[in-house]
């Protein structure tokens, strides 16, 4: 079965690299949203440093909403999802693999882009390290929870805004803990409690989300 899951991962990676522009667009959106804040709020280094962590995280959440749909959209539209469902392999395992690939192709580039964002918003080095750690632990959570909502809305014609409505309230705790970790780093305080809480939420999501995604996909295909 593991060979089979690796096969699914290979397929998804291959498709992702065939559709590079779809991967790059949310990242460009993220970069542009971040650019708006110095222009709209204030370019003063102090202000930017104060709002920086929140801005980066909010922009990351918003841009993730744009890219999430491609997680199951093509497979649903062309019928591949039906074939997955009938392959005899638990759909939850397949969903977990697909979420992992989605995280690799849409959030790892964000991690690579993050030093630039930190420079733009005048974050100090300890703040940047904290930001990177929260992104590392927090973005898989975005993918996992987001996948549930995508699986629920995939059969709907106009799922885009609805996806945001469903997900933004659910992401609020993540936003609170992640930004507060970076704030603590700015004050030279320990921030591992916040990281630990995000880690706990991630573990909870890892345990439950694949089953919720599989169930949602079945409901959407019914």
């Amino acid at each position: 079965m593991s060979a089979l899951l690796i096969g699914i991962a290979q397929r998804d990676l291959r498709i992702a690299f065939q559709q590079k522009s779809e991967l790059v667009q949310p990242l460009m959106f993220l970069l542009m949203v971040v650019t708006l804040f110095p222009l709209g709020v204030s370019p003063s280094p102090d202000t930017l440093q104060r709002i920086g962590p929140g801005v980066i995280w909010i922009a990351a959440i918003l841009s993730s909403l744009l890219g999430l749909e491609r997680l199951f959209r093509d497979d649903f539209n062309d019928g591949s999802l039906e074939q997955y469902t009938l392959s005899g392999v638990p759909l939850s395992a397949i969903a977990a693999v697909k979420v992992l690939v989605h995280w690799l192709v849409s959030f790892v580039p964000l991690l690579i882009l993050s030093p630039l964002l930190a420079l733009f918003l005048n974050l100090t080095l300890p703040m940047y390290i904290a930001l990177l750690l929260t992104l590392l632990v927090g973005t898989p959570l975005l993918s996992l929870i987001g996948a549930i909502a995508v699986a629920l809305t995939i059969g709907l014609q106009r799922g885009g805004v609805l996806l945001a409505l469903l997900l933004i309230p659910v992401f609020i705790p993540l936003l609170i803990f992640a930004t507060s970790a970076v704030d603590s780093a700015a004050l030279q305080l320990p921030y591992y409690p916040q990281l630990a809480i995000i880690g706990a939420m991630l573990l909870l999501a890892l345990a439950l989300a694949p089953f919720a995604i599989a169930y949602s996909l079945k409901v959407s295909q019914n």
Partner: protein, 208 residues
């Protein structure tokens, strides 16, 4: 007991009853041809028989066990729906290769080339599927019938977009499958010709 058996199926879609207490059976070497007007619930019935959706009441049995708990049903089944299940960015070869891997069918790439060749797709194996015509895409999708050895075929509108040759080609495949003791349940808008061999018909009515 061998074969497929449906007992007491009820399906309610959008709060409309499509069919109620529907029972039928499909034995090895039988072709069941499902007929009915649009909206009568043909696709819904086929999806219930595959296990993709669940009936509101009733149960499907494969060799005596409910398909929900059967370990062998997934291995014994090929379902092809309205949608071709081909990713448009991948080539025919890649699509079939990944499909075979998902369904744990061991096939070499050369086998896939061979199957595509006998299905009239020479020279189209390596280009992204989105550049193929609808009929060619349908042929790629149907090539799965050659790749996986499965006794149960459930095909929803398999003739869509096929030309006259294609229809005859597929009907011959049907009769060969049934002669080998396979089971086939299908639906289409035009009636099956003599090429497809003997078949029983199940009629669904449109209900309000």
């Amino acid at each position: 007991m061998s074969g497929l058996r449906a007992s007491g199926l009820t399906c309610i879609k959008r709060d409309r009853v499509l069919f109620e207490a529907l029972s039928f059976s499909l034995k090895p070497g039988e072709l069941l041809y499902l007929r009915g007007p649009n909206g009568a619930g043909k696709t819904s019935l086929l999806r219930i028989v595959t296990g993709l959706s669940s009936a509101d009441e009733g149960e499907i049995y494969y060799q005596g066990t409910p398909i929900r708990t059967s370990n062998t049903y997934a291995k014994s089944l090929i379902y092809l729906g309205h949608k071709t299940a081909l990713n448009s960015a991948l080539s025919a070869i890649e699509n079939l290769h990944y499909w075979a891997a998902q369904h744990q069918v061991a096939v070499a790439t050369s086998d896939i080339y061979h199957v595509l060749e006998i299905n009239g797709l020479v020279g189209l194996e390596d280009i992204p599927v989105r550049f193929l015509s609808a009929g060619q895409q349908r042929r790629v999708a149907l090539s799965r019938l050659w790749l996986k050895k499965a006794p149960v075929w459930i095909l929803d509108e398999p003739f869509t977009a096929l030309d006259i040759d294609g229809v005859a080609w597929l009907e011959r495949k049907f009769s060969a499958h049934v002669k080998e003791g396979g089971m086939l349940m299908t639906t289409s808008h035009q009636p099956l010709s003599a090429l497809a061999g003997d078949h029983t018909t199940l009629d669904l009515e449109y209900r309000f």
